[in-house]
């Protein structure tokens, strides 16, 4: 049986106003992202990868189309609701780890559970410990992140992405600032997370990452040029 998508984009397009006229950077596209799947979105600079990522991350609203989480269309949701949906459903891994340099490894990881206030739950703390342990960072719990290498920082960022037990992990060029060895560790970790049942979306322009993909979506000039298709459907063109 085909599982329900974690997030669905239906006829989603995005325009930007450059001060004089509207410029379309993303043309109407459909995309469904499923659990247990690592989807790589690739394309040259200016192809619309980051715009697509920020729409899926509920950071930008599409100019048209629907963004469905479950049955709920959240394309027009309020800013606060979108923030809360991100907190509950999504984890994020950024290009340069984007850790807070003033905080320790544990504090950075747990910050994801505390951004809207309230105490950090025991479950979130346990997940942070497990994630850091799995990523080989258990001994760095109280270490300030400024003392870590780039690869170690990215592993802390992955632990942070897992603290709220998200269904979907969105990664923006997570290996572009890393050496080959660190990149391999990060990619294997992301792959493992997808095989364990999470949906992972990885935006990159680096073709060395492609072998890790269950699905490869390539954008050119704001349109999906190729889509290898989801393993959960027999018809890859269904999303294209």
């Amino acid at each position: 049986m085909r599982p329900a998508p974690v997030i669905q984009l239906q006829r989603v397009a995005r325009d930007f106003h450059d001060g004089r006229q509207n410029r379309r950077v993303l043309f109407p596209l459909d995309l469904s992202v499923h659990r247990s799947e690592l989807t790589i979105i690739s394309g040259p600079s200016g192809s619309g990868k980051t715009t697509l990522l920020t729409i899926m991350a509920l950071i930008q609203r599409p100019s048209q189309g629907r963004v469905l989480i479950g049955e709920q269309d959240v394309a027009g949701a309020t800013e606060d609701l979108r923030a809360t949906l991100r907190l509950r459903h999504f984890g994020f891994v950024f290009q340069n780890a984007a850790l807070i340099p003033a905080l320790s490894v544990a504090e950075n990881a747990l910050m994801a559970a505390a951004v809207q206030g309230g105490a950090v739950t025991a479950a979130a703390r346990r997940r942070a410990q497990e994630a850091l342990d799995t990523l080989g960072m258990a001994d760095f719990w109280d270490i300030n992140v400024s003392k870590l290498s780039g690869g170690q920082k990215q592993r802390v960022a992955i632990a942070r992405a897992l603290v709220n037990d998200p269904e979907l992990i969105l990664c923006d060029e997570p290996t572009s600032a890393l050496d080959v060895e660190s990149s391999a560790i990060v990619l294997k970790t992301l792959k493992r997370l997808s095989t364990e049942g999470r949906a992972v979306i990885l935006v990159t322009h680096d073709p060395r990452v492609f072998p890790y993909a269950d699905r490869l979506v390539q954008l050119v000039d704001g349109r999906i040029a190729t889509d290898t298709g989801t393993k959960h459907t027999t018809d890859a063109s269904a999303d294209a």
Partner: protein, 373 residues
């Protein structure tokens, strides 16, 4: 967790955080210092009234300022003494004089002559001797803080005021006048120095029977003495201060200096807090992506403002306490009523939050999309 993170994020950039703290310290210390000197000076303006121990004063008509009172007939004393509720009435003579120091130089002084044996209106704080020493017809007091001005006379030393011989009999502490160095003596000596007759005085001091209301008595005496000015002591003190504030540039000068001190602190806080937010804009954008709402980011910057305010106010007051302690025995007039402390702390907190508004505004405008790239 957010509180600790806010504090750590704030002090991660120590230079800007300490700059903000310095802004708060500047407000507390500079404004506190100005206020202390202001209240010290205004205290001197009315010290004759404030230390008198009287409940009410009868003065010449149109007197607003105790240091510039005309003379009144001593015969009014009998009319006041007969009023029900008046326990005692004593005349005082307040006059200006030129004191010749032992080195031959002269200095302007203000002389208050009190009527023995009660010596009402006399000094009440002594470093050496007591008020009873003023029973000596030649006795005068000098204040400890004015000794350098007076050429360091000791108890027993003879001096001249307006060419009349006086002898230092006691040393007061913290009793200083606004119109010149304040000396107390007997009323007879004051009249001799002033060259005035025995049928006039500068004021009548009134002590009320226990339980009598000064305000009611003042109204009653105004009816009995329509050609006099009658004040409750607190009102005379207030009127004297207001007179100087209205007729001199003191209020404007201190107000302006205080305003500048507050503005300097405000600008320092605003710039450093803003810089702090700018330097951490990627952190805030990342928090927004993770799920922080605008108000969550605002809360972090607000907390940081509170931390800055708390630390700065604490350090500022410590510095101010050091200043007040260090100048207590100096010629610098300083006095800080206790209410000024909490008021200054509250005003500084408000200024700190005001200074942080720009930073808060910047923080809530940070878009989560800026965390990507």
């Amino acid at each position: 967790m957010r509180r600790a993170a806010a504090l750590k994020m704030l002090f991660h950039d120590r230079a800007t955080a300490l700059g903000s703290v310095a802004g708060v310290i500047a407000i507390v210390f500079l404004v506190g210092q100005q206020l202390a000197i202001f209240f010290g000076l205004t205290g001197f303006m009315s010290s004759i009234a404030d230390t008198s121990g009287a409940d009410a004063w009868v003065l010449a008509r149109n007197t607003e300022n105790i240091n510039a009172a005309g003379s009144i007939p001593l015969s009014w004393r009998d009319r006041v003494a007969g009023v029900d509720g008046v326990a005692w009435v004593e005349p005082v003579v307040i006059t200006a004089g030129q004191l010749r120091r032992r080195d031959g130089n002269t200095i302007g002084v203000q002389v208050v002559g009190c009527n023995p044996p009660r010596l009402a209106g006399g000094p009440n704080r002594f470093a050496q001797g007591s008020i009873a020493d003023l029973l000596d017809p030649e006795a005068v007091t000098v204040d400890k803080l004015e000794l350098p001005e007076l050429g360091y006379p000791g108890v027993g030393d003879a001096l001249e005021i307006n060419g009349k011989r006086v002898r230092v009999a006691a040393v007061t502490t913290g009793l200083r006048g606004f119109g010149g160095t304040l000396l107390y003596c007997s009323i007879a000596k004051a009249r001799e120095i002033a060259g005035s007759g025995g049928d006039r005085c500068t004021a009548l001091l009134i002590g009320l029977s226990p339980g009598r209301d000064a305000v009611g008595m003042v109204a009653l005496l105004r009816g009995i003495l329509p050609r006099a000015e009658v004040f409750a002591t607190a009102d005379l003190s207030r009127s004297t201060k207001l007179y100087y504030l209205k007729n001199s540039g003191i209020g404007t000068s201190f107000g302006f200096t205080t305003l500048i001190a507050a503005l300097v602190g405000l600008v320092i806080i605003a710039l450093t807090m803003y810089t702090n937010v700018i330097s951490k804009s990627q952190d805030y954008a990342m928090l927004r992506v993770l799920g922080a709402r605008r108000r969550d980011v605002l809360y972090i910057v607000f907390l940081q403002s509170l931390y800055i305010a708390a630390i700065g106010i604490l350090l500022g007051f410590l510095l101010l306490a050091g200043f007040l302690s260090g100048t207590r025995e100096s010629a610098l007039p300083v006095s800080l009523p206790w209410l000024v402390g909490p008021a200054l702390a509250a005003a500084t907190l408000l200024l700190c939050l005001l200074g942080s508004l720009l930073a808060m505004r910047r923080a809530v405008k940070i878009e989560p999309a800026s965390a990507f790239r």
